[in-house]
Amino acid sequence: MKPASFEYHAPTELTEALQLLASIGEGARPLAGGQSLFPMLNLRLARPEALVDLNRIEALAYHRLEGDTLVVGALCRQRDIERDVEVLRRCGALADAMPLIGHVGIRNRGTVLGSLAHADPSAEWPTLAVLLDATIEVASLEARRQIPARAFFKGLFATDLRPGELVVEARFPLPSAGAGSAFVEVARRHGDFAIGAAAAVVSIGPDGKVADARLALGGFDSVPIRATPDPASVSDQVHPVDDIHAPASYRRKLAETLAGRALDLAERRAREETRR
């Protein structure tokens, strides 16, 4: 028996879940896939008074393409995205990132929105959200609001969520046709949290030159960031710290290397797309 005792609720409707979150207050934690929350419960790093399990709210288990936008509900598993060939075809960065998230058994249960709400700066989904300028919709009993990804992440494991609010949907505008995108990372072992990650979107103009480039970096600051898409200046744009895995100097160099790789790969894919 590892977790400390808690009160368990399994609502079947979103409103019921929001009522529980509102009435219990800050002691309540929503539970989706549980792949980050359960390790914290088992290590007793988290001791919530109550868990509000979202797994019985079937209305939240969806994802779909609306034009060029990937719309993801709060119970969409990471594996659902990984298996959606059309979504992966539309966005190389997503296709690159999916196999890097934990392992199959983790992705079978872990949710996209759970990863966003957990806000680990080296996790793949937060970096993807910042790269693609995703919008995150949160709901409380009173209101709903939409938060741009870059305003949603506030710090290490900290978001703009207020007590009583739940992340209910995320909208990821996918790169337009003709653009290329890529996601690369360095981790100590496959499936481990990355030491650092870079993701890019590049589009090519009619003159054959790069018309637009976007770069996002994860794991180097307390939140994933957007950076000027120029590898040479990247090491000045990140603020890594030393830890047992690598010193800050290595991480700055890594940011530069990964930025170069992500931008190159995205550009190569964009050129393949425009040739088609």
Partner: protein, 163 residues
């Protein structure tokens, strides 16, 4: 202590027991149902030893509650085969020395079961990534990959023989 009665479908049978709300699926299977083939290693989702199938999909049973598994079909190593009537994966792991101490084996076999369903013709590259969620400290993995490949051969032969 927030006790409740939990009814699960495990290996095709309905099983009932009382447990605390905070009881993980792994502890429920082992402690309440006596299904000790599910091994508990790290208990925070890193080692994969406690892998079971939830509606056919691999999951770490230390990272979900027993009460969450109600209404779903749980498959443990005991559901795949027995010493008298072993599953082809079990035979292949034995034949190819895909284990030494055996602690990681139940989790590996359930992950491999899911992998072979999706990759009936296994290749080393996909095996390395798809089976990366299970840690083995004895074999160095090569024997495990050989066992999975052997199991795929045996499955193909069995299928060929029955059709």
């Amino acid at each position: 202590m927030n006790e409740l009665e939990v009814t699960l479908r495990v290996n095709g049978e309905s099983r009932v027991a009382r447990c605390e709300q905070r009881t993980t699926l792994a502890d429920f299977l082992r402690g309440k149902l006596g299904l000790t083939g599910t091994h508990l290693g790290c208990e925070h989702g890193v080692c994969g030893a406690c892998t079971v199938l939830v509606d056919g999909a691999s999951a770490r049973s230390c990272l979900m509650l027993a009460v969450q598994a109600q209404g779903q079909e749980i498959t443990t190593i005991e559901g795949l085969g027995t010493p008298e009537n072993p599953h082809l994966l079990m035979r292949a792991f034995s034949e190819m020395h895909g284990l030494q101490c055996g602690f990681c084996t139940p989790g590996f076999i359930l992950s491999a079961h899911e992998y072979l369903r999706e990759h009936p013709r296994p290749d080393r590259e996909s095996m390395r990534t798809e089976l990366s969620g299970n840690i083995c400290r004895c074999t160095g993995y090569v024997k495990i990959f050989e066992a999975v490949e052997r199991a795929a051969e045996m499955m193909a032969e069995t299928e060929g023989a029955s059709s």
